[in-house]
Amino acid sequence: MARVLYSHVTKHFGDTVAVEDLTLEVFDKEFLVLIGPSGCGKSTVIRVLAGLEKLTAGEVYLDDVLVNDLPARDRDIAMVFQSYALYPHMSVFDNMAFGLKMHGVHKDEIKRRVTAAAETLGIHELLKRKPAQLSGGQRQRVALGRAIVREPKVFLFDEPLSNLDAKLRVQTRAELSKLHDRLGTTFIYVTHDQVEAMTMATRLAVMKDGVLHQVGTPEEVYFRPDNVFVAGFIGSPSMNLLPGKLTGTPEEMRIELKGFELSLPAERSKRVASFAGRDVICGIRPEDMHDRAFVRAEVRGQVIQGRVEVTEMMGNERFLHLLVHEQELLARVDARTRARAGQDVSLLVDVDRVHIFDAATEKVLDKFDLPESPAPVPGEPVASPGAAS
């Protein structure tokens, strides 16, 4: 059982605000991924939990115990660093054993645990080597092993895969997920890599400039972004965001965009009718624009015209860089499309999946009716600043 609660946590470094009023609950056995652009305070969030940074304000609870003033060594937390931070003067065995020695674990037990972890990670024949004699991937495994042998309450990872080559990263990703399932321990994982975040997370927490913008399952965050930042940040290629105005009648609302407009279906119109007259930002994911020749029948859409500037063949699909009334849009359509650079095309926009954000607050106006994903563990409702409820 390891539950973590950040309550109104603020951390300043001099004048720099690293984390601002963060409230976040991390459930037992969950794989929480913290994601956000560089410098947004992700590392600070986990370093605060590890006991490596003192809070400016707020409280951190580990299993309902306030740990603000608990030194790092008494927190029973293990951490994997981006640079791995292996002790260069110790052998792989001693690196993995160090934490256990510091906690006064008996020699035989140390040996048993280190050997077992080394077997699991396939590094048992490296135990006598020094870190300098290891490849990048092997070092990463040792760093992982050093955390595993501790059998801690919580694992913290600070971008542990960013120094690996692409192939190794994919492989290690899957292994980390398996490891999480097997250990059944709480993982908090920092990354700025979307694929890592999407593939491994049970829940995602999206941060920017020290502020938490949305917490939810990968599906929630992807399909129902709370605000413009999350919408644009999550998803690659990223969502098209166009300024517009919401007009019309409760029966038929329209988003007036530069040079064209999108009519909303009746039930959606009803929901956003109260916002008529607002300036909005309209978000369209590239995959929600379709070549009409290859579209599924049930898609309710509206046709827009544009000129293809560049096409990029991706294999199973094709990216079309479009100019629609002087606005650049990206569409991700069936690879069989006949659209080519320089031609005019008409594409079907899936109006059920268009996101509408208030231009002033940048918050979403209405949420989609996706099947509600069950919350991992029913807990107190978690207020996240920036999330529209």
Binding site: G51, K54, P71, A72
Partner: protein, 273 residues
Amino acid sequence: MTLPWSRVAIYTVLVLFALVYLMPIYVLLVTGLKSFQEVRLEQMWDLPSALRFDSFREAYNSLDSNLANSFKMVVPATIASCMLGSINGYILTKWRFPGSDLIFFLLLFGMFIPYQSILIPLVKTLQQLHVYGSLWGLVITHVIYGIPITTLIFRNYYANIPTELVEAAKIDGASIFKIYTKIIFPLSLPGFVVVAIWQFTSIWNDFLFAVTVTSNPGIQPATVALNNMAGSFIVEWNVQMAGALIAALPTLIVYIVLGRFFVRGLMAGALRG
């Protein structure tokens, strides 16, 4: 995570040590600034009742020609050392040839030898060259025995200038001299400052060469004169202290003004630990 009392402890220790390190300077100053009537050993730590420069004046009067000697020796020796070191460092980093590493090793060892082991031949040779007992003899000595350290500092400095720069110039047809004057030398200013400070300080502070190569008191540099003054029973201790401060002043000023470069020289001398 550090408790306040441990911060207090840290600062207490640091300040105590600072006081101990400054203690000699304090004594030098208050002694030098007292009148002759006030300078008694029992009152060594007391502040002067009135500022009087008696001791300084007397110390300066007996050291002034020696200070001049020191300057006359230090300035040319430092300049020559810098030039030699720069050329050597340039060749040993950018124009390496078979055996250049061996030469470097042999140079380096020269930095560590006890100079006692070359003193007798040195004195004999300088006598043969008719520069024994003259400032020029000292200048030559300091320049030659400064070659290892100046070469080392410049070599480490030039090692950080990308070799691609030199290779590009070679391809462009620049000669070894052109590359030095147009590329290396203009980038060398910090290296020259470090080496100049190093040589200035160590030549000024040298005693062994000074006392063996110059026997005539009129020619001796300040360190030898100060030592003679301190060894004589005629000179009052307060004058000795004032003399010590005067003799230390040039290098102290260099340290205070250019301390950053002084530290760099030290680290280079430590062979990048």
